[in-house]
Subunit: 412 residues, 2 copies
Amino acid sequence: MEHSLNNSRDSELLARASKVVPNGMWGHMATRAIGPGYPQFFSKSDGCRVWDAEGNEYIDFMCAWGPNLLGYKNAEVDAAALAEIANGDINNGPTEKMVELAELFVDTIDYADWALFQKNGTDATTTCVTIARATTGKRKILVARGSYHGAVPWCSPSVVGVTTEDRAHVILFDYNDATSLDEAVAAAGDDLAAILLTAFRHDLNRDQEMPDPAFLRHARSICDKTGAALILDDVRAGFRLDVRGSWAKHRVKPDLGAYSKAIANGWPLAAVAGSRRMLDGASKIFTTGSFWYGSASMAASIKTIGILKETDALAHIEAMGARFRDGFASIAKGHGFVLHQTGPVQMPMLRFQDDPDLRIANAFCAAALRYGIYLHPKHNMFLCSAHQADDIDQALEAADKAMKDIAHLRGA
Amino acid sequence: MEHSLNNSRDSELLARASKVVPNGMWGHMATRAIGPGYPQFFSKSDGCRVWDAEGNEYIDFMCAWGPNLLGYKNAEVDAAALAEIANGDINNGPTEKMVELAELFVDTIDYADWALFQKNGTDATTTCVTIARATTGKRKILVARGSYHGAVPWCSPSVVGVTTEDRAHVILFDYNDATSLDEAVAAAGDDLAAILLTAFRHDLNRDQEMPDPAFLRHARSICDKTGAALILDDVRAGFRLDVRGSWAKHRVKPDLGAYSKAIANGWPLAAVAGSRRMLDGASKIFTTGSFWYGSASMAASIKTIGILKETDALAHIEAMGARFRDGFASIAKGHGFVLHQTGPVQMPMLRFQDDPDLRIANAFCAAALRYGIYLHPKHNMFLCSAHQADDIDQALEAADKAMKDIAHLRGA
């Protein structure tokens, strides 16, 4: 499986797109923001594999940037969703599936006493902030510098088209830094509504950091003292690391949690889960969307969470992630590269040492594409339960060839 | 078809939901915000009919609050979407369907030179505002008092959990009132970014108003003079009145338009369409979402728009709307009620004269439910192309019985 970088079908589609779409493509999947050599368009996906518009096949380590958790086109999940579509996905209200899914959230997520459902991760984080303000009557939201919480003015990584007032009540601190958090709390004075944290530090183009349990406990105790909400943004990591919520193993319970991505194995859904203390605020705010009550995505989520609870899917993903990480470490060593592999193995991050302009990472990922594996040079990646040992080993063989091809960049 | 108001299955589901969902239900489909007697849960939908959790069948005039345009479970639309799901809906980038859909938007919508796709109507209106600010470098957004543009802090009909700063740059005016608009423009000074208008005035619990073409031309000329963006919020009306955009017949072209609801006949999708003048701003902002690039909803939209362009579906909906309106006028007259029927016939609004507390409307709609038609006492309704003359006539018979039942409220 070796592909030519020549992908005329992709170029043709991109040329057509450039005439009718801003920049030919917008958002996080725009390849100009990823690196050279990436195909912009795809033609199909299955299990842990994707095919570009030209028909080139890749072992995929982005999983559609998270949603693919149990394999693209997981038969059980899709069957559950398609049964709802055959019955009529949308209606003038929800079906029983909404109740079942909310009950399943409450049964499954360690801090959840209730849940509500939406479509985008940004819907969920924005609603958490609104609920925190409604519950506390306070305004300030503490956000870690560099954390991604969505793509609307209050939290977008871009400030183009954003006004100062959109972020008037956002105060920044550094993730895992208790002193910095204390300073932000002091700056909030008696107006602290919430501390908002991603499950772990998974910022773009930076080594990942697991949360320091002592830091999480400190944040929890601030919220206990002040009445502010501790919000877990579990959009990216949720259901991939731990079905109970990504902080369950740290024994720190947030007041509110935001979910999306893997929640329904690719069917569009997001959720807010919350504790009883946040129920009053959640009951008073208004949040809604035209497609939020469709039952297909809810049925997909019920099946996804069911599989996670009844099978060893998450343990398998973790084992495959460890195999991937160990293999990469060994390959890098063999070629004399120092590789930073950080964060949970299920969501790998690869960074080459002494590569500030990503010259090595971009060259490596472009070479990897030619050998049939789809990696990302500066964003965390994702594994899914469809990755088997053979897929990982095949990917590692490809990575070995790709690293050999770029060995001349070592220490250059 | 006469139902008992006793719906034990609905009560049972609502009791379960009340334990795990804020208020048992959130958002616009929460029946406590609609009126007494409404079923909260549904079990299936087909064509122009919906079934509640108990299995009671209704001829439906809400169309899932807009998304149902060509009939629930439209076979052609669903087949197009399901083919994409069979192929893998999501991926690390879009499929060719994104390009096809953007090209179709540009070919179809009279002012569109480009398009981008999202999931919620609120995504689209928020992005229009952000693009307007990015393009103009100005901040003030003029919004008609009482218009609904979404459910996030800058525009939500609720201010619970919303800060003053969220709306710092929103200036209100009255729809169709040029003097009021001029005052808002003056208040914006040299900081005017956009004038945001719904396709027509379709505010809750208020007679609908078609836009005054002279008012639209006035708004257009202000934007031409100042460089501000004229934004058409076509989320609710888009593709139901005119496939070219809801202002095409008024010959006023907005700079930006927001779409959702009927865009893909119930498959979750939203869109922003824009003119060349807005392309630079659209190319600079960052907006994205985890599920925005799935091809199933895009294929559904391509098929939906194709059907609208190739068949007389919209003319049929208009004819059915006229039959519904004429029938209702005659029934009301027969029972001595004065009924206000306003706005486009495709999106009927029924209001009883001298009914400030909705006592008559609520009693009528509850009675109508018993006779098997699902109406709304204070929100505009929607027709779809699956409504046939027989359905309308059957609904009118039911409405006649319902109005007879509430005749004692006349002039009370």
